[in-house]
Symmetry: C2
Subunit: 243 residues, 2 copies
Amino acid sequence: MPNPTAAMLVIGDEILSGRTRDANMHYLAGQLGQTGIDLTEVRIVTDQHDRIVAALNDLRGAYDHVFTSGGIGPTHDDITADAVAAAFGVGLDIRDDARAILKEHYARTGLELNAARLRMARIPDGARLIENPVSAAPGFSIGNVHVMAGVPAVFQAMVAALLPGLEHGAALYSQNLTIPRGEGEIAADLKALAESFPALAIGCYPFQRDGAYGATVVVRGAEKADVDAALVRLAALFPEAMG
Amino acid sequence: MPNPTAAMLVIGDEILSGRTRDANMHYLAGQLGQTGIDLTEVRIVTDQHDRIVAALNDLRGAYDHVFTSGGIGPTHDDITADAVAAAFGVGLDIRDDARAILKEHYARTGLELNAARLRMARIPDGARLIENPVSAAPGFSIGNVHVMAGVPAVFQAMVAALLPGLEHGAALYSQNLTIPRGEGEIAADLKALAESFPALAIGCYPFQRDGAYGATVVVRGAEKADVDAALVRLAALFPEAMG
């Protein structure tokens, strides 16, 4: 059975403006790879209601899972929960269990649970909460959409809480070989290798270091034996390669 | 007149697998911001023909410019030029001017212009070349789609060659203020500020540092006077803030 597929939707003015370099996408990609869920597409959209709704509806129809990051805090630019409720056509209101979590957290930290913070207890009807051990305010899953915070420490904690409960496949097995030649010199052999192992994904990533060209070949597949066999073939073709 | 809009399409197995952390998106976002072209959406798709074609057709219809990165090298997994030609419904063949550029480069470097390297002279009919001062093999523009390499040094050189020739608007003016309070405490004031300055984009980005909460408020707009006025108001509300 093929692995479940996934997309990520980043609600990301701060990334599109060039202010911040993505961290959550890179983290999620690594975690999903280890879990056996295939991250197949990422979209980053501006913090605008209609764009978030449209992207959510595109992606949740096309993939088994959609993971979002950003826009679930207490400020006026946090509009993800509203957009998710609109995409699913359900109501959005403060929910007792989410409010209780916030109440307990703010009582313990001596801060006021004011109207802005209470917004973080607004949960679309029918959603399940995702635990936030870092700063309490929960994420949520509705249908196949999993809504998480944009702050990296919180995002990572929510991913850790969420992933073990999702159906998953087998992690892809992956091996690298770095060849100290320009990719134009190894391209013909790589193409033949890819044709011999149609079940494997064989990627070639060139680089230039200290004026010399090189390429890292990444071989990925579900079967360790296939990947290993391709690596043996590759190493024989390029004895100067480094594992 | 509003700024031109743009999307970026990253052909990115190596990013989706978690192997590589994005650099080109962050670079392009910064450059477009300074140029006055509004980066509005980014998509990252796997190295699969149909997905690249579908994303190209979606994005080139929705935005003034589409910038792509990745998949124009000499190896079997470099399929971007084929996908672009298919998306535009035009032919793709080795072109004399592109071949001449490669011939000159490989003659100078003493390397062979073999069949794999010649693939990099395949240019969709009607495209304009984008210069590559780093490693010669050109990118190209066709319609409103600009196709560039994935290797960051080459991508950056191509962006530098391309951007001055594109129509652009005015760079957004941007100011930050970092407030040593949780965003839940400043949310009501920020909301009122955003309502007073509807032409500005006011974003709030929380963080936790050494156990203390804080938030960076980013104010962006076309008019410096508006941004400055909002900053003065903000600084008066939060005298403990740091610019």
